[in-house]
């Protein structure tokens, strides 16, 4: 018998400690994009913060590494064990209670294992908006969202997961519980441990619960789709929309022509508008706290000005919620259309918004020159300077061979450009295992040294999600 497993069984009960001898652990061991398959020593499924603490404490005592996992929907291989069979997979999925909703304080306190969509729905039922929204919301958990500082489609207005969190409950690497749950908007009593833990990808401790910001529900949401003649025009339109709609501008997505052509090809029933006429289309969302009539008047005045200024060449405003959902559905179908088209290389980069046009012009040209036939699937959250600047293998060739031979080179070309433009090689997905080896090349060396010092200080045994980030 393994003494750690005995201790865990005693702490959790037999039902909630799953071992490879008796259970199929593949759902926990395989990452979302099927890029990695590890082997876990066991899967622990604690049902309370105290049990999480007991698990981590036992692992610390036995020198066993802990890999925390939420919905396991991450894109950078950050939540599955390695292939040694020595790491404990700590699933947070049973910690899924909504502990409290405080309307007057505009906060809710939820446990880490709550699925994001359940958090959104609990907020909506109480009459409030929890604005974090991303493609995996039906499966990802709020703990994972916080551990990776998830982004999504509403960041322009509401910020990343970090900006939506007021307080955390955390189990440290030593198995102590830090109760930092707080509904406070202001608290200057010491170092910002909350934001340090957020985005640390489970390498400094385990997030077990969080107090989140709520917002009033808008009275109306309108969506528009505009064809823009250039990326410069898209940036100018963004500035105009920010001036006119201010905080009402809750979404601003850009989509390149080739990206939309893939949606048109693989999902013709979605009827992608305006894509044939223009190198880029933009999706704008206006959340209005007065009325739909007011929202529509603002939107139409905005688009009229943009048409006059030439930053928009044509536009449609969704007439109803169904049409609006249809437009968002097109945007969200780009990754699926990419899969249908075949293997591709994904990026998640950011540069300052002002530099996006030059970045795209230069990098498009560079890749076309260096890798003949390359096809760029460029789309993303322009309002945040965040592009999924993806690369599809040349048409008709052997896509698998292309990836094998060119992925590293494509990454280097793109990342070097990102660095030249003062950007980030991981805007919203995190580092995980996938980009860990890139950090020493692209991150400021002093920042890396500070990060390593913090890691060593808070997790001296190096047992928290090892091999991630650093």
């Amino acid at each position: 018998m393994n003494p750690l497993l005995d201790a865990l069984r005693a702490a959790l009960g037999d039902t909630h400690l799953l071992t490879p001898e008796r259970h199929d652990l593949s759902g926990w061991e395989r990452d979302w994009r099927q890029r990695a398959r590890g082997r876990a020593l066991a899967v622990a499924r604690p049902g309370s913060t105290a049990e999480v603490a007991a698990v981590v404490k036992a692992c610390a005592a036995h020198g066993v590494a802990v890999v925390p996992q939420g919905g396991n929907t991450g894109l950078v291989v950050g939540s599955v064990p390695d292939d040694t069979g020595t790491q404990l997979l700590l699933s947070l999925s049973r910690l899924n209670a909504v502990r409290a909703i405080d309307g007057d304080n505009l906060t809710m306190t939820v446990e880490a294992g709550c699925v994001l969509q359940a958090v959104q729905e609990a907020a909506a039922q109480a009459g409030y908006l929890f604005p974090l929204s991303l493609a995996a919301e039906g499966s990802c958990t709020i703990g994972g969202n916080l551990a990776t500082n998830a982004g999504g489609t509403q960041v322009l207005r509401y910020g990343n997961a970090r900006e939506l969190c007021l307080g955390l409950e955390v189990v440290t690497a030593q198995g102590d519980i830090w109760n930092g749950l707080s509904g406070l908007r202001k608290d200057n009593t010491g170092y910002d441990l909350r934001d340090l833990l957020i985005g640390s990808e489970g390498t400094l401790g385990v997030i077990t619960a969080a107090t989140l910001k709520l917002y009033p529900q808008p009275a109306a949401k309108l969506t528009a789709w505009a064809a823009v003649p250039t990326m410069e025009a898209a940036v100018a339109l963004l500035g105009l929309a920010q001036q006119r709609l201010a905080a009402g501008l809750t979404g601003f997505e850009v989509m390149g022509q080739f990206a939309l052509s893939l949606v048109d090809k693989h999902y013709p029933q979605l009827r992608v508008p305006l894509w044939r006429e223009s190198p880029y289309c933009v999706l704008l969302e206006n959340s209005d706290f007065e009325s739909e009539v007011h929202a529509r008047a603002l939107f139409e005045a905005l688009l009229e000005t943009a048409l006059e200024q030439g930053t928009v060449t044509d536009a449609v405003v969704a007439e109803n919620l169904t049409q609006a959902k249809g437009l968002w559905h097109i945007r969200e179908s780009i990754p699926l259309a990419q899969v249908d088209e075949g293997l591709n290389i994904k990026h998640d980069i950011s540069v300052p918004v002002s530099r996006i046009p030059a970045f795209c012009a230069e990098t498009d040209a560079l890749l076309a020159r260096e890798i003949p036939g390359v096809r760029l699937v460029n789309f993303g959250h322009l309002g945040d300077g965040n592009l999924h600047y993806n690369v599809q293998a040349p048409a008709g060739g052997d896509a698998a061979a292309f990836l094998r031979e060119q992925e590293e080179r494509v990454n280097t070309l793109v990342f070097d450009q990102v660095a030249r433009f003062g950007g980030s090689i991981s805007a919203e997905h995190g580092v995980g295992s996938l980009k860990r080896d890139k950090l020493p090349h692209y991150k400021d060396p002093t920042a890396l040294r500070l990060m390593r010092a913090i890691k060593t200080a808070l997790d001296p045994q190096g047992l928290m999600n090892p091999g991630r980030v650093l």
Copy 2:
């Protein structure tokens, strides 16, 4: 000769190293509220980030403590040297360049020594809003604002200094330069060093520059003043205003009757409205991106509903900018009126907004019971749950004796109540030396242990602003 001073003189030139033998250093040695007067070994006034690094490196080599100082307007004795004459005062005031304004990216990059008002003005000249705003804005520096995570009157909409900063340039305790200046809205490449440094009060490193968020300028700003019958009504009015004005609600201040009576008494020319009829008044600010007409219509509809619901008993809306400034001036005159009234005990607390009414009811009664004659000057940023719950000595008595005898007891009574209500004993002013000894009593012990581990990891010699925070 002192070898450190020789090294500093070589690095900075004779003009920018001030020693007590040759200069009057009292302006740097005395704190804003005149509560402390230290003695500096010398005052170093570097003119560039490289010079800051040279100063810190030299101090590290000689084992000499460094006390960074911006505008020296802090309220918790965090930026003056102790009285040993052994600490180097590092003034950032010569680093005062606005390095860049990037309109399309809505960012500006400024050096730490820029006075806050100069930052606001540079933004305004370029057509943008930098929203951080607080009483000391004519003297405080952005470096100090970030080091203390300053709050102020616009936090409700725009957040504290932390939320307004996208990137930092920092000199570490070892004298290395971390270039984390970034205009990126999204960057998930590792631990959040930016937010760790922000609010660390110079104990982990020296902020030398920052990239800040800009916002479009609103088309109109309107201010209203409302009498509310109870604190419960004030909280209900806040909720209504948040629903109706959403992000347009940029200010929501509450002022107790006694606080306003002091303004009326000492500054009768300010003509405080509505204060005689009501236990509390509220100041609301609406920033509108359409027009003044639109702002006024929204505001009037809001106040009409509030009057119907009984959360407001009477209200005035400023007719013009002069009237609006007059109303804000009343709010900002409360601390001055307190000084005119005599010695008092200041607090800077926060509790969840939803718990403010119960907190005030219980704590008002407790203090009245425990300390007969006590007079509460209760006012603050209700939208952030942040009250300056100040205590004025009983009328007619010896105020100095009252403070001597009762200050500790009053603090304990108030802070224990804050703790009971899940609040913070320092909402926006920080810890400094003043509240350092309170932290072990009121802060979660695990959080304190994590903070100490981080301090030791990043500043193993303990030379960065020692005796502050921890």
